[in-house]
């Protein structure tokens, strides 16, 4: 760890980041045009007129985004200028697409939804949590004190859906809890907790993990007592796969665990070992878990009569029909694809906005990840670096797993598309993630304090005992 200290403040001293709050406001206004424009285009496409409530809807969306901007200005003036606008644009686009599917369902008298209203309420809640994190947490290093607390909280959250009363089984995966009429997916919050736990633990133990231990068959094995807790965490989160049938989340946690271990120890060997373990585990899962077999068959032979791939195939046809520039918002038929508003929202986007739109959305996700990694590079303390890397990787992996599944690059596993797809818990958790990233990047980009000497009197006179 001495290496990081040696490269501490001194070399970055002369490099001053600008605040860029003006740029953020400009991008945010453009993002609002993207969000509200999509809503208007949906109305024009489906009903042939601009929706009547566009002023209320647009005003509400603008109010939320500008509230975020003001809070960032006040509490994190040096934070990254790109993250908030990107997230607002994605959320606005997601709302419009969900609204479009609501209209489609209403038209064909399918009795589901409407979802857009709920999603807007969840977005409001997400923004409130975003503001809460930025206002309540002035220094991300305070979180390091809650390393084990957040680890425990993460496990408890993951196990909650298995409890008999609150947990419920939806679509073969037991990942929901119900309290009264509210349903919640605790796994989404658990991933933030696990990032905090991994970061806090690895900061303290990475030297031991990287250096102490014995060599065995050409591989340096760390000592059991250094690896123990983190291995336990990992096993518990993988046990979800077995007991909850949630492929996507277990893939997410596994990848997160591996990347953070690699980043903390700077040992590429972890990636090799991890990839081998993953392949072995995936093969075993394929052999012994029926749920996995169905998914893999649907992935390999979606058009075979025997495979259970109706949803996947509808999504593929939708995207193919969309082609390069899409059918236009409101002109396609995304309601045919089951879950076109949540897991398959990327297929809906592909159908109505085409490859051009999908590329734009993927670029936005790429930029979120890039900003997170950039924050990690600039950040001055190891804990902040690891948290930023972890959050960025969670984001990237989640988008990869779900978009890869929808486009038939990898077997389909159920995960939400961050900010786009319908789902309250995911939306709220992702707003919290962005707030954390902004907090870390504010600390990282803030120019080093003037290093002003404190008042002489204050230092010499005050003697507290």
């Amino acid at each position: 760890m001495s290496a990081t200290y040696a490269s501490g403040p001194a070399p970055e001293r002369s490099f001053v980041h600008r605040r860029r709050r003006g740029a953020e406001l400009f991008l945010l206004l453009l993002a609002l045009v993207v969000g509200i424009g999509a809503y208007a285009a949906v109305g024009l496409g489906v009903q042939g007129r601009v929706p009547a409530d566009i002023v209320e809807y647009g005003g509400w969306l603008a109010g939320l985004c500008l509230a975020c901007h003001v809070v960032v200005r006040l509490t994190a003036p040096y934070a990254d200028p790109v993250l908030l606008p990107i997230v607002s644009a994605l959320n606005g686009l997601g709302l419009a697409v969900i609204h479009r599917i609501d209209l489609g369902y209403a038209k064909s008298h399918v009795n589901i939804g409407p979802f857009a209203q709920n999603q807007l309420i969840w977005m409001t809640l997400g923004v409130l949590i975003f503001i809460g994190v930025l206002v309540g947490l002035r220094d991300h290093r305070r979180l390091q004190a809650f390393t084990y607390t957040s680890g425990l909280a993460g496990i408890v959250l993951l196990l909650l859906p298995l409890l008999p009363v609150v947990g419920t089984d939806i679509n073969g995966a037991r990942i929901w809890i119900h309290v009264g009429s509210l349903s919640f997916q605790p796994g989404e919050v658990a991933k933030v907790m696990l990032v905090l736990f991994f970061a806090g633990y690895l900061v303290l133990h990475r030297d031991a993990l990287a250096l102490a231990g014995r060599r065995f068959a050409g591989v340096d094995l760390p000592r059991g007592r250094d690896l123990g807790p983190i291995l336990l965490m990992w096993l518990v989160s993988l046990a979800i796969l077995v007991f909850q049938g949630d492929l996507g989340s277990s893939l997410l946690f596994f990848g997160l665990f591996l990347v953070m271990l690699y980043v903390a120890t700077e040992r590429p060997g972890w990636l090799v070992v991890g990839a081998a373990m993953f392949l072995a585990g995936a093969y075993c899962a394929y052999l012994f878990v029926g749920h996995v077999q169905v998914r893999v068959d649907a992935w390999l032979h979606p058009f075979a009569a025997s495979s259970n791939a109706y949803q996947l195939v509808q999504g593929l046809y939708g995207m193919a029909w969309g082609g390069l520039v899409g059918r236009g918002l409101g002109q396609g038929d995304p309601t045919i694809t089951p879950l076109g508003f949540s897991d398959f929202i990327m297929a809906s986007v592909g159908e109505e906005l085409g490859l051009t739109g999908v590329m734009a959305v993927l670029l936005l996700y790429g930029m979120i990840t890039e900003r997170a990694l950039r924050t990690a590079l600039v950040c001055r303390d190891a804990f902040g670096k690891l948290v930023a890397v972890g959050l960025g990787v969670v984001f990237a992996l989640q988008v990869f797993v779900v978009v890869g599944g929808v486009t038939r690059l990898i077997p389909l596993t159920g995960l939400t598309t961050p900010f786009l797809s319908y789902g309250g818990s995911s939306l709220v958790a992702n707003w919290a993630i962005i707030a954390l990233l902004l907090r870390i990047s504010d600390q990282a980009r803030r120019p080093l304090p003037e290093l002003a000497a404190p008042e002489d009197d204050a230092t010499t006179v005050v003697q507290l005992r």
Partner: protein, 163 residues
């Protein structure tokens, strides 16, 4: 709504989407290349301040010794009397085994604070300790300059920079 209008709306919306993406990219780009490198004005300002401070301390001569500090002394607390030379900088202060100033104090974290040099100046930085690092009654939230004779309170221990 005619076909033509719908097509125009479709392309207009894609254009808006891409304008947003490209402007975000350009902000990222300007952020990457546009960060100011701290040039002379700031350095001068710092030098100015330094000179002013020295003049000030000269005017009240006798209150504080002048010159470069050479060691850190524990002036109060259970380890009172210990000293560590500043040649070993950066100096880690804490309860852990790897700390250069190892304090036997229940209110001190394992890796509590760090004393390091930056140019001509010494500063202290809190490493996310539980109970904080204080200069006077002020809890440190960012690296802060230490001067000869300034005292730092960590847990029940007081440190001082000495010549």
């Amino acid at each position: 709504m005619s076909e033509l209008t719908l097509m125009l709306i479709r392309f207009a919306y894609l254009a808006i989407l891409w304008i947003f993406v490209l402007s975000a990219v350009s902000v990222v780009r300007s952020d990457m290349f546009g960060a100011r490198v701290d040039s002379t004005p700031r350095a001068e300002r710092k030098a100015d301040k330094q000179a002013r401070r020295e003049a000030q301390s000269r005017s009240r001569s006798g209150r504080r010794p002048r010159g470069e500090p050479t060691y850190v002394a524990v002036v109060d607390g259970s380890n009172a009397g210990e000293t560590v030379s500043l040649d070993e900088a950066p100096i880690l202060v804490g309860r852990g085994a790897d700390a250069a100033i190892r304090l036997d104090d229940d209110y001190v974290s394992t890796r509590h604070a760090r004393i390091a040099r930056s140019g001509e100046q010494w500063f202290i930085e809190d490493l996310g300790s539980t109970n904080g690092t204080y200069i006077g009654s002020h809890r440190l939230t960012q690296p802060t300059i230490l001067q000869l004779g300034s005292t730092v309170r960590i847990g029940k221990t007081t440190l001082e920079l000495r010549k």
